[in-house]
């Protein structure tokens, strides 16, 4: 029995933990190396922090290395990251050389020897030039479906040296002559953001933000960014409000040192003016318990972004047994099973209609919520992610 894995037995699907033990037997002693640019912050780091020790405890020689950089390196990799996501960026020869030099320096001090090396995101991608053996996979957590072409052309030469690439959605991938795999992100049900909370803990957070109890809560959690369309959500709420006494909570982060975020927040606050039932909450990045409580206290969760990455917040809400009304952007529609765990909508009016429908049918809402939780249990929990890693390690290291 592996303690790190056993703690998931109560939340994983039936038979899944025993299956993981069996799966791990197929990769005993295999060396699996993850390389990334950061150890903290972001969903990828959160999951790796948990998965690597579990894999290790289960007999795989799993390691996780983090590259060291400079301020210039951080600047150029931010440009590359933005460029891969479609923003017009210029990478000068000098910047590009910095990118290569920092990776070359890291290659000298890191142990790159493994059966499978997973390189996360663009920052450490040139390490592949220094590969020692084993299979190398580039794991892209970004939506690189519509990149700024010059940046992609520059970056593509590194990707071509890999044995495979992994994307979070088919639409996030580019044409490449190497195998491309699909691996969905996951959530950890035992973290502060997703663990069970007592009624008292939920109430305390709702009270802290002045959110009334006894009145249905519509919730959107997203950073204040034009693409998250908080204004559209307010319009949908207003249409529904004519028929139901409900309240809307718009909670998010992302305005610190971000003029665009500040502008969006100001617009949202202005649109919410004079309506005491709209709560605009600016949360700090470490507000995991508050987000958890808001999601658990919500009646319906809305994720109506116009542009989105995978949008794992949808799975977080579904895990808390909430029906989610989401748009078609990014991975939102991959997580929602339309009309079973929530609704996929294409307009403000569509969102308003589904809000009204659900508020008028509490039975449907609770059935959908229960199904949403089961759907996440089987598809978007860390245990599924672990299974994917074992499988890809087995398949690629024996090819």
């Amino acid at each position: 029995m592996i303690r790190e894995l056993e703690q998931y037995r109560a939340v994983a699907p039936k038979g899944a933990i025993d299956f993981l033990y069996r799966l791990s037997h197929l990769v005993q002693g295999k060396r699996f190396l993850h390389i990334s640019a950061v150890r903290y912050g972001g969903g990828m780091a959160e999951i790796l922090r948990r998965i690597v020790p579990i894999m290790k405890a289960m007999g795989t020689e799993a390691r996780w290395e983090v590259i060291a950089g400079t301020q210039e390196f951080t600047d150029v990799t931010r440009r590359i990251t933005d460029g891969l996501q479609g923003r017009e960026e210029t990478i000068t020869n000098e910047m590009y050389q910095t990118y290569l030099d920092v990776n070359a320096r890291n290659a000298k001090v890191l142990n790159l020897d493994a059966d499978l090396v997973f390189v996360h995101d663009p920052q450490p991608a040139p390490l592949v030039d220094h590969r020692k053996g084993g299979k190398w996979v580039w794991r892209c957590h970004l939506d690189a479906g519509l990149p700024h072409r010059p940046v992609w052309s520059l970056f593509r030469r590194h990707v071509l040296k890999y044995d495979a690439a992994v994307f979070s959605l088919p639409g996030f991938a580019q044409r490449l002559p190497i195998p491309k795999f699909l691996l969905y992100p996951s959530i950890d049900p035992l973290t502060e953001k997703n663990r069970e909370l007592s009624r008292a803990e939920i109430t305390q957070v709702l009270d802290q933000f002045g959110i009334a109890r006894g009145k249905p809560i519509l919730l959107q959690i997203a950073r204040f960014d034009r693409f998250k369309d908080q204004i559209g959500t307010i319009r949908a709420y207003r249409m529904a409000k004519k028929h139901h006494h409900c309240q809307l909570v718009l909670a998010g982060s992302g305005v610190l040192h971000d003029p665009e975020g500040e502008a969006v927040l100001a617009e949202v606050q202005q649109a919410a003016e004079h309506d005491p039932d709209i709560h605009v909450l600016q949360l700090p990045p470490e507000a995991d318990r508050e987000i958890n409580a808001l999601q658990r206290g919500a009646t319906i969760v809305i994720q109506k972004a116009l542009k989105e990455g995978f949008g794992v917040a949808v799975s977080e809400a579904m895990w808390k047994g909430k029906p989610v009304i989401g748009g078609t952007a990014g991975g939102v529609s991959t997580q929602i099973v339309n009309e079973a765990t929530g609704f996929i909508v294409h307009s403000v009016e569509g969102a308003a209609f589904r809000i009204r429908y659900l508020l008028s049918n509490p039975g449907v809402m609770s059935r959908m919520g229960a199904m949403a939780k089961e759907h996440v249990r089987r598809n978007f929990l860390i245990t599924r992610h672990l299974s994917d890693y074992f499988t890809i390690l087995k398949i690629l290291s024996t090819e």
């Binding site: 699907p13 039936k14 038979g15 899944a16 025993d18 299956f19 069996r22 799966l23 197929l26 994307f167 088919p170 639409g171 991938a173 044409r175 490449l176 195998p179 491309k180 795999f181 699909l182 691996l183 078609t328 529609s333 099973v337 339309n338 009309e339 079973a340 765990t341 294409h346 199904m371 089961e374 759907h375 089987r378 598809n379 299974s387 994917d388 074992f390 499988t391 890809i392 087995k394 398949i395």
Partner: protein
């Protein structure tokens, strides 16, 4: 009979899937049929089967990805309905299944004045799966042991022994019915198991149906 040890032990094998993106995407039904002709058979298998593995308890409106896409993304409900009645159990091979799907879409398009396409909907992304067999370590020799094991085993084992056995491994019948027939010498139970159509429902519904059949057989045997 049901407590008698079988001639051969039944070993449950589960499976794990990695999805591979083929990089082909169709935005209208003409492209869909053209790409369907070109993609590897593994992709035909993926789009007609692996949903059951990935979503073992939710029953969606249409039983394969092609029909689901036609209905949800193209809003062509006629094609969706026509594709939904294609039953993979009626075909001996994936190639034959592919030909039927192609001929059906071609026939549908021949009666259209314009090719239906996704307006606001998402393209159809062709994928394929790589399946890794994983022995579960669960072995049974009697129907009672089988019944107890099937209630707890990972749902991927049910998928492997029923779906994988049929089309990918091209076995004449699914592994459960073959074992009931060959080892437990229970031809009636084997026929009932073989007649279960796994495409109409979900893996969890299938699990529940198999459990019911086993319980009935065990009750019958206890009464005789």
């Amino acid at each position: 009979m049901t407590t008698t040890h079988a001639d051969a032990t039944f070993r449950f094998i589960g499976c794990s899937e990695i999805q591979e993106i083929l990089g082909k995407q169709a935005v209208d039904e003409r492209q869909l049929v053209e790409m369907l002709e070109e993609v590897p058979l593994d992709s035909v298998y993926y789009h007609t089967h692996s949903y059951f593995l990935r979503t073992p308890f939710i029953e969606r409106t249409y039983p394969n990805d092609f029909a689901q896409w036609a209905a949800q993304q193209v809003q062509d409900h006629v094609l969706a309905e026509r594709l939904s009645v294609v039953d993979p159990f009626d075909f001996q091979s994936l190639e034959a299944l592919r030909e039927e799907l192609i001929s059906l879409i071609d026939d549908h398009l021949s009666g259209m004045t314009a090719v239906p396409r996704t307006g606001f909907g998402a393209p159809f992304y062709f994928n394929r799966s790589r399946i890794l067999e994983v022995p579960t370590g669960v072995e049974v020799r009697t129907l009672r042991e089988f019944r107890d094991a099937i209630s707890d085993v990972d749902s991927s084992a049910i998928y492997y022994h029923v779906f994988e056995a049929h089309l990918r491994l091209q076995r004449e019948e699914n592994d459960f019915s073959a074992w009931f027939r060959g080892s437990l010498k229970l031809p009636d139970l084997a026929d009932r198991m073989k007649a279960l159509n796994p495409y109409l429902g979900s893996l969890e519904r299938l699990r529940s149906n198999v459990l019911t059949m086993c319980d009935e057989q065990l009750a019958k045997s206890a009464g005789t």
